[in-house]
Amino acid sequence: MNHWVIVPIVLPATMAAILVLSMRHHPTLERVFSVATCAVLVAVCTGLMALAASGTIDVYELGNWPAPFGIVLVLDRLSALMIVLTAVLALAVLLYAIGSGWDQRGRHFHALFQFQLMGIFGAFLTGDAFNLFVFFEVLLIASYGLMIHGGGRRRLRAGVQYVVYNLLGSTLFLFALGTLYAVTGTLNMADLAERISAIPADDSALLRVGAILLLLVFAIKAALLPLHFWLPETYAEAPAPVAALFAVMTKVGAYAILRMYTLVFGPELGATSDMIGPLIMGAALVTLAVGMVGILGARRLGRLAAFAAIGSMGTLLIGLSVFTHQSTVAALYYTIHSSLAGALLFLVVDLVREQRGTAGDLQEPAPPMAQQGLLAALFFGAAIAVAGMPPLSGFVGKLLVLDAVRETTHVWVIWSTILVTSLVAMLGFAQAGSVVFWKTAPEPEDTPVLEDAAAEAVTAPQPPVLPVVATFGLLFTVVALSVLAGPVTGYLEATADQLYAPEGYIMAVIGQR
């Protein structure tokens, strides 16, 4: 029994409790312990990934109860990948939040942040469908708290939409689980897989309903159209570091789809295989189009970043929906890319917003910023990554997806959608970037003329160093993902191997019957 598997869940939960208990009046202590926890999490998750890379599937039976009767955590290549991604992103985002002072603009940021991490890690690690629901709840409520962090009218209003919409999703999750439990009498995912494969084809109706309701639940999290309505306002109005962390939250939905529809309702399962993939594909194409058009139409950079997040989920889910070995590799690569690049974009937008004073993130000319060149370079990098231009990982990911859908029937529709929307996104980013960074408005008339250095100090405060470092750190990860595409896809191929041979997973969880 390898206790490290549960550390990513227990550590942040315990730390959050301690933060509330004894550090809630000590910002410095909160910061130190929060960062330390995230650093430890990166180390632990990396270690777990090294373990999973060998191909072993680690099963952690909570309370020492055997599956399917108790709850299990399962560490395989996929979950290891997702937790490493989360941990790395969390560390960068946390440093940004601290450096920019976002963490002090409301109460309990660090505790909520740790609870949020606990929820995300739990969702990635659990092998039990109901436990997944519980972790969805944890991450929903924590994310709501983080989302409204700092308050403000627009943010609170967006928060109401966010939480109400997602509570609808939670209700649906219960319906779906109830249906599946009623059909199978179990909640453990491996056990579900076994029992469902034994259900006769002439009794598939209820099973199909359960499968599709579950899909819709995950589709909400993954912002798949037409269930994405919670996302634009939420992401645009959330504090930037939180929005950046949310980049991995949509991936929770994608992860859950991948897990459930390879393990439980696999591509070989006759009852559901004909509807799951095509449904996701159709919706994903629309998602991509709406997201990219949203980039073009956005009036604010925050909203632009939000629609970019939707668009990238579209591309990701297109890859996912094919459910082949190759397409899964592509979708997973895109998952990593989209999380890092999406977060990067939110942070850059926030750096810009902080520097532009009253103009905020509106796409209109404003007086020049301090460090204009630096911010422009960062925005350029983020835009290239998100729009899928070379040489960053977005382009590699896009090529992988294009290549992976080659054998599908509607390859022309998919290709043209992906390529045309890339152009739309490119235009959107070019317009936004040239207005914000190139088309500077003259300095306000009433600014007194001062000595050069003094004038600079007055009109444009230098951005603090730590947020810029954290942002560059993320940009660096995007570059690294692109350079190391070979080794990364190597790991992803092994991951796909594991996913499309679910016997290994089932065997590890419930053993030989």
Binding site: L19, V138, S204, V209, L399, S434
Partner: protein
């Protein structure tokens, strides 16, 4: 492991040097403009040297290769190849790059950030070198798109100019569009061949041309080439890219960016050319572009615009030659690529010099410069004459070859279309070339130049001077260029070149006649330029920029309109879409499957549940009817909750019933308190249509849920459910006879762990939210808020105070009892927590928050934190016994004189649950009360307002905050 051929090991260095070097100028500018230039030159020159070192092998016919695996799964690898074609282009890019850098040093003014400029330039240079050295088409695509991106930065370099910004965007969009189409084309090509390596693709001519995917692939790839090389109808971006500083124009539009499209066509020539499709697509496009652009160039007054359209025209010429598909045409194309690069770069630089010296680029404001700027005049004249195709200059040679090829090209059975149009293009070409000389340098000297023209310093004319030396040298002794042309043409055509020699005199051929006609016609056109110009200006013609701007503007507005109307922020609409989607998907799933007959018979309807059902329905419908009255709605919700609890009891689930009832009580009380701050009635916001829509959607949703439940209830589990195990193991393994509680704290204790955290977070969120609201406009609103309606005369009535005091110990005892019995009988930490919270809640309601809180020593944050921590530590405790998280243990101890009783670690866990629940409820209450206090609600010192035992002096129960903390 990466494999590499040693001969090609320079290649990645050549490609990487500009990129690595791009880091330098931005830094070195601190050390001055000359140092900055030197550090820009260094990587370029070094790369050029390495290229020259590799050149002899290539000239011998070798192909240098380098290979490093990058993404083998996709077939995307870092593979470089250097053959004749690559050598020519890399030489042009780096060689002219050196000259441009020199020129730019003198061209850029002190206000221009030179470091940035050179950084962009080197990035662009690297991307171009990458294109021409790539052996892998996917790698080539990467560099291809990089040129679009870096040229975007270069064209927009003067960011204060709107033309610069618009030109940059236009170039990015058009060439980006082509790049995307090329991605598709290359993917198809790779699929047909089974490899993305050019060295493999180029050997597969038959397979590619026989494939049904040949035409789509061809069109898509040409889409990339045509946009990049500004072929009609994608030519319009190029003139607008002239807003860039002249060194950029000279570089991009003579030797590099626009030549990338030609390079691509030349590169793919061996496998794509030679079919009718290729001929008609490429040759026709080239021909049309050549003629139209040449004509437009004649009417452009801006020097750079003239040169821009002439560039488009010459690109069309080369495209046409490549399109002919014959080997000699390919030779001519290669030769013209070299010649065009030399004279066009020189001409752009002279245009920059004139602009620099006279501060004008408009031909109408120039003229008579030959004496003022003799050196520039000389350079410009040689360049322009070469462009016009005058003998003894290199432009003549390749133009003759072009006309020769055109003379015997048959287009759609017509022998005259191509030669006539080619000659016409040449006529225009001569005319605008002459105009560049005559209208700028000849004629009378003027007095109204914006600035007094003069020849520039040597550094500025050195580069174009060197280039025109080449123009003349090749023109006089074409044999100089012959080895390079041969090597290049050999790799374009895939070997097997006819034996040819580049020479000045070919005898009296049709081409010579055509050339003569062109020169004469051109001179004639120029003579009548003024009336022709008036005619041109009078004819309406489509303006590409206006159209492009209109399209992008319309797209942006349409995108904005669509996005904003789809995401209008109406939650009820979002929820409606959600419900309809779920219903649709559910019905789709159900109807697509098959269903066995029911395995369970419905039970008969008994009286008791029927009564409950009727009550439930009545309460629900009443709720819909009266929902605007918020208090009433709350009461009705209470009824619903109560009946649900009763339902649990009826269905033998006492634990659930207990939980449900206590949750109901707590939530109703908290919501009652919250109602305080809301209007009594919900305003009517939706019209009848909307209400009807919502009614339909929600009834359909309700029916669907009922149907689903009905279907579920009529069937058995497919296999034995896991609950049998829980029933069996509850006492033996979990140490409790209440299986529900054992599930909660043991079998699925981890779920409970998560759920108490949810509860704890919720309380923290309520606290943080209240804090945020109070600090924001909400707080100001509360301060100025005047509660409507009557307040209670006696806020803290004696009766209630006394009753709650009496109840308190009883309630606490009940809590403890429920907690302790939980493991074996209905109860447990969660319910106990709620009961205790209700007991406290009653104190608060009776005597006010501040009074009650001041009698408590713990803060609720601490309670929540402790609760989660205890639960967590209980789980961790199991690690020390070598067991997984949350493994429970139990045993029996006897403490005399008591009887033996059971202990279980689950009890500790349950304590954590208990504390979290109490803390969460109380923290929520605390938040609500802090809102109340913000509205000006006073804090009472005494437990009740009217106390008969108190003397009259201090019978004022309300003080200003002394009682609160």
């Amino acid at each position: 492991m990466p494999t590499m051929e040693t001969a090609g090991s320079f290649l990645p260095i050549i490609a990487a040097l500009p990129f690595l070097g791009a880091l330098l100028p931005g830094l070195m500018i601190q050390a001055g403009r000359n140092t900055c230039t030197a550090f820009t030159l260094a990587p370029t020159v070094l790369a050029l040297l390495l290229l020259l070192i590799s050149a002899p092998a290539v000239m011998r016919g070798e192909v240098l290769l380098f290979r490093l695996d990058w993404l083998p799964a996709l077939g995307l690898n870092v593979t470089f190849m250097l053959d004749g074609l690559g050598l020519l282009f890399a030489g042009l890019i780096l060689g002219i790059g050196v000259l441009i850098i020199l020129y730019a040093r003198f061209y850029l003014s002190r206000e221009d950030p030179m470091g940035q400029f050179f950084t962009y330039l080197l990035l662009f240079q690297g991307a171009m070198v990458g294109i021409v050295l790539s052996d892998n088409v996917l790698l080539l695509l990467i560099f291809w798109e990089l040129t679009s991106l870096s040229s975007f930065l270069l064209i927009g370099y003067w960011k204060h100019l709107p033309e610069g910004r618009q030109g940059a965007r236009m170039a990015l969009v058009v060439t980006g569009l082509g790049g995307l189409s090329m991605i598709a084309g290359m993917l198809i090509l790779g699929n047909v061949v089974g490899s993305y390596d050019l060295s493999v693709i180029l050997t597969q001519k038959e397979a590619i041309q026989a494939s049904p995917m040949y035409l789509p692939a061809l069109i898509l790839i040409l889409g990339g080439a045509f946009t990049k090389s500004a072929q009609f109808p994608f030519h319009f971006w190029l003139p607008h890219a002239m807003a860039a500083p002249t060194p950029v124009s000279a570089y991009l539009h003579s030797a590099t960016m626009v030549k990338a499209g030609l390079f691509l066509m030349a590169r793919m020539w061996p496998v794509l050319a030679g079919t009718p499709e290729w001929f008609y697509l490429v040759a026709t496009t080239g021909l049309v572009t050549m003629v139209i652009a040449a004509k437009i160039a004649l009417y452009k007054d801006d020097l750079k615009a003239l040169l821009a359209f002439s560039t488009v025209s010459h690109l069309g010429l080369i495209t046409m030659l490549l399109g002919f598909g014959t080997k000699m045409a390919a030779v001519a194309a290669v030769f013209h690529i070299i010649n065009h690069a030399t004279f066009k770069a020189a001409l752009f630089m002279t245009a920059g010099i004139v602009d620099h010296a006279a501060h004008a680029r408009d031909i109408k404001r120039l003229g008579g410069l030959r004496r003022l700027m003799p050196v520039t005049f000389a350079i410009a004249t040689v360049g322009a004459l070469s462009m016009a195709g005058i003998p003894l200059l290199n432009g003549f040679l390749s133009k003759e070859m072009m006309l020769e090829e055109a003379a015997h090209t048959v287009w759609a059975h017509s022998h005259w279309v191509v030669p006539v149009l080619a000659t016409l293009g040449a006529v225009f070409s001569v005319a605008y070339s002459f105009r560049y000389i005559v209208h700028v340098f000849l004629g009378p000297e003027r007095t109204d130049y914006p600035s007094k023209p003069h020849d520039p310093e040597f550094g500025m004319w050195a580069a174009p001077g060197f280039l025109v030396v080449l123009v003349v040298a090749i023109g006089v002794a074409p044999v100089l260029a012959e080895p390079l042309v041969k090597a290049t043409a050999a790799s374009v055509t895939g070997g097997g070149l006819p034996d040819f020699h580049l020479k000045i005199w070919h005898g009296v051929t049709p081409a010579l006649y055509m050339s003569a006609v062109a020169v004469a016609g051109g001179a004639l056109l120029l003579a009548f330029h003024a009336p022709l110009m008036r005619l041109w200006l009078a004819t309406p013609r489509p303006e590409a920029k206006t159209m492009f701007d209109a399209v992008t503007r319309a797209a942006t507005l349409a995108g904005r309109g669509f996005t904003d109307s789809l995401h209008d922020g109406a939650l009820s609409r979002y929820a409606g879409i959600f419900t309809v989607t779920v219903l649709g998907a559910g019905v789709f799933a159900w109807t697509g499957g098959a269903s066995l007959p029911a395995t369970r018979a419905p039970l008969p309807v008994a009286l008791l549940p029927a009564v409950g059902w009727v009550l439930l329905m009545v309460a629900t419908f009443a709720l819909v009817a009266f929902h605007r009255n918020r208090l009433m709605a709350l009461v009705l919700m209470g009824i619903v909750g109560l009946i649900v609890s009763l339902g649990f009891i009826y269905l033998s689930a006492p634990d659930l019933a207990l939980t449900q009832i206590s949750v109901e009580v707590v939530t109703i009380v908290l919501m009652l308190l919250a109602l305080n701050f809301l209007p009594h009635r919900t305003p009517a916001e939706s019209g009848p249509a909307k209400r009807f829509r919502d009614a339909v959607v929600s009834i359909a949703g309700g029916v669907a849920v009922a149907g689903l439940t009905y279907a579920i209830l009529l069937r058995d589990f497919a296999a034995e459910s896991i609950s049998a195990f829980h029933l069996d193991k509850s006492y033996k393994g979990g140490g409790g006879t209440n299986v529900v509680n054992v599930i909660l704290v043991d079998f699925r204790g981890f779920d409970t762990f998560g759920e108490i955290i949810v509860l704890g977070i919720a309380a923290l969120v309520i606290f943080a939210l209240t804090d945020a609201v109070l600090r924001g406009p909400g707080g100001r609103w509360l301060t100025s808020w005047d509660p409507v309606g009557d307040e209670a005369g006696d806020r803290h009535p004696l009766m209630m105070v006394v009753a709650t005091r009496v109840m308190m110990p009883i309630a606490l005892m009940v809590g403890v009892y429920i907690f302790l019995r939980g493991h074996n009988d209905p109860g447990g930490g969660f319910i106990a927590g709620l009961i205790v919270a209700i007991a406290f809640l009653m104190q608060y309601m009776a005597s006010g928050f501040a009074w009650a809180e001041s009698r408590q020593r713990v803060t609720y944050h601490v309670t929540i934190g402790f609760g989660v921590l205890i639960a967590s530590l209980t789980g961790i405790g199991a690690w020390f016994a070598g067991r997984p998280f949350l493994t429970s243990d139990y045993g029996y101890i006897t403490i005399p004189p008591l009887e033996k009783f059971e202990w279980a670690t689950a009890m500790a866990f349950d304590t954590g649950v208990f504390l979290t629940v109490v803390g969460a409820v109380m923290l929520a209450l605390n938040s609500l009360s802090s809102m109340a206090r913000r509205t000006g609600e006073t804090v009472n010192i005494f437990p009740m307002d009217i106390n008969p035992a108190r003397s009259d002096d201090d019978d004022d129960g309300e003080g200003e905050g002394e009682g609160g903390r």
